[in-house]
């Protein structure tokens, strides 16, 4: 037996029963959209494969990803996954502090070189040599590059690591930069959201640990199983959208009836995430269910799209708050006015010419 434990051994050591383990395997299979035939496969993989260590580093972030992660709907899932992750180093969850923690990280990076998964929460700021985010006395970007060098793959947790999120919103004074623009030579899987759904996080990490490969990704590098469809495509209020029944104002009769929030600027039609299927807080609810539109937190640059309550992106080049429709109406109005004036002048000119012709003729 190798010196590295298998997943199963780790779980048993954590006091998880065989029965719970099997339940976990079936839960994982269904969460990943795999058939029942995969349950024994997952179990077998976990019993025989040495566990893949996960190193979790934190840059510019708010810890909402960690907060979400430890609140997995199925307590078992998060316990199991947490037990698999190397907690030698995770800012908010590790026991060690100071030099001990940094030493522990170094040890893990060295021991599992080329074999660990690097989970990044937050992103590095690049301005001023990265001095806006210092970890262990050094800019975070250095730690990120160092940790990424020996990683097998990288998970970008949340909107920060995937797209930049609020710290990268215009004008982005610290030049906060998503992970994939700093680390370009490693496979990166984006799990956007602010935060991502706990079950999505555990699902992704379990898939990678179990099958030793990235799940199927979409064009933007997100796991297709969770980000393959828009909130809108699976929204339970969709029939009201198709019927043309909308909430017209907050707290109006239609809002009480649970009509579609499209007119209130719900970003469901432009947001790829699993909220409308997996939901939040142990499957209790999600924003639209609680009566507020989606704000599109798992989309690229969602802070820079203008108000959460508008359907169109703000266009700032015109100095004032404008969107495509205000600009378009302005342009069409101006052109329409110009045409009217031009037509009037043309008519006058023509009348003048006719008169002249009459005189000459």
């Amino acid at each position: 037996m190798s010196e590295i434990e298998t997943f199963y051994e780790v779980m048993r050591r954590q006091g998880i029963t065989r029965r719970s383990f099997m339940k976990y395997c079936s839960l994982t299979a269904s969460a990943l959209g795999l058939g029942p035939a995969f349950v024994p496969k997952i179990a077998h993989a976990m019993e025989t494969k040495p566990r893949t260590p996960v190193v979790w580093v934190n840059g510019l972030e708010c810890t909402c990803c960690s907060e979400s992660f430890i609140r997995g709907a199925h307590p078992l899932a998060k316990d199991v996954v947490l037990s698999m992750i190397s907690l030698d180093y995770q800012h908010t969850l590790m026991a060690a502090a100071g030099h001990h923690a940094e030493a522990a990280l170094e040890e893990t990076l060295e021991k599992y070189k080329g074999n660990y998964i690097l989970a990044v929460e937050g992103n590095p700021p690049l301005n001023e040599d990265g001095m806006f985010c210092i970890v262990g006395g050094k800019p975070f970007v250095e730690q990120l590059r160092h940790a990424a060098a020996g990683a097998k793959a990288i998970i970008s947790w949340g909107a920060c690591a995937s797209y930049g999120c609020v710290q990268a919103a215009a004008p982005n004074p610290t030049r906060a930069t998503p992970v994939h623009k700093v680390i370009t030579d490693k496979p990166i899987i984006k799990v956007p959201g602010c935060p991502p759904i706990a079950e999505v996080m555990t699902g992704v990490i379990t898939y990678m640990l179990t099958f030793d490969r990235l799940p199927e990704l979409d064009r933007q590098g997100r796991p297709a199983m969770f980000y393959g469809q828009r909130i809108h495509d699976k929204c339970y209020r969709r029939p009201h959208f198709d019927a043309g029944q909308f909430v017209e104002a907050w707290d109006d009769e239609n809002a009480r009836k649970g009509y579609c929030l499209y007119k209130m600027g719900c970003k469901g039609p432009t947001t790829y995430n699993a909220c409308s299927t997996v939901r939040w807080n142990e499957g209790t609810s999600f924003p639209i269910q609680s009566g507020h539109g989606c704000i599109g937190c798992s989309e690229d640059g969602f802070w820079d799209q203008g108000s959460f309550y508008d359907r169109l992106t703000n266009i700032k080049q015109f100095g004032i708050e404008a969107n495509a429709d205000t600009i378009g109406m302005g342009a069409a109005g101006a052109v329409g006015g110009a045409v009217a004036v031009h037509a009037a002048i043309s008519a006058l000119k023509r009348a003048q010419k006719k008169n002249q012709d009459k005189v000459e003729g």
Partner: protein, 253 residues
């Protein structure tokens, strides 16, 4: 010019057309029409116009929906669904039409090619652009004759129709691909654009801007066609119906 000169009796025009004047007859003696727009081009023009009209109206309502309607339960009501259906159906028509029009640029007559390019390296073309601009600024007393589009119209056609429709087709199909789902045909064809733009809302915004550009074009296009029909030396509106460009005088310049 407008005075009606009395006809000499027994003049042959009297037999041809009851109210033809001697001047009319002189005009009739000359061949003054050129066949410019072949049937497929005219058919495309009107189908395209109808599709664009439907697309603009439904597209605007998709972006800014009508007040909520309470016809029945949501399951028995499909108002917004029908609006979107009309939009998508018209878009499919526009797409097929546009590809047909491109095909016709290859097999059709010389004039069928004109809207697909602008001869920016031809000095004469630029001179004519400035001449046409001067005509629209009331600085020229009389316009030139054009068999096809005048250079200004050609530029407008190229940017608003050829480029504009291409832009709307690309962004529109990329948006449609979102609903059609990953792995669907629209997604395979155009899904990459969403990845390029990065954010679906941004893509929607670009699509809206494209709509307004086409509305601006429509205003100018319809105005210019009617104005030129009245004020220029040639036919405009009827040319897109019959295909024939007729001229009001026989001076070549």
């Amino acid at each position: 010019m407008t005075d009606i000169t009395p006809q000499p009796p027994g003049f042959e025009a009297a037999r041809l057309t009851g109210d033809a004047t001697a001047q009319d007859l002189e005009t009739l003696r000359k061949r003054t029409s050129v066949y410019v727009y072949e049937a497929p081009v005219r058919l495309w023009h009107w189908l395209n116009a109808a599709a664009i009209l439907v697309l603009i109206v439904t597209g605007y309502f998709i972006g800014a929906p009508l007040p909520s309607m309470q016809i029945g339960e949501a399951t028995q009501q499909f108002v917004f669904g029908y609006i979107r259906f009309a939009h998508f159906a018209a878009a499919q028509l526009l797409t097929v039409g546009f590809f047909g029009r491109i095909y016709w640029a290859f097999v059709g007559n010389h004039h069928a090619k004109q809207m697909f390019y602008i001869p920016i390296f031809k000095k004469v073309w630029w001179q004519e652009v400035f001449f046409e601009l001067r005509w629209y600024l009331f600085l020229e007393a009389e316009p030139k004759k054009y068999v096809g589009h005048n250079p200004l119209a050609q530029a407008a056609m190229f940017f608003f129709m050829t480029v504009g429709i291409t832009f709307m087709l690309l962004t529109g199909w990329a948006l449609y691909a979102e609903g059609a789902g990953q792995g669907s045909l629209p997604d395979l064809a155009m899904g990459w654009l969403l990845g390029l733009v990065g954010n679906s809302q941004r893509l929607h915004t670009l699509h809206h801007l494209g709509m307004w550009a086409i509305i601006v074009f429509m205003i100018i296009h319809i105005y210019a066609a009617i104005r030129e029909d009245i004020m220029s030396r040639q036919s405009m509106v009827s040319t897109m119906i019959s295909g024939h460009r007729t001229f009001k005088d026989d001076r070549p310049e």
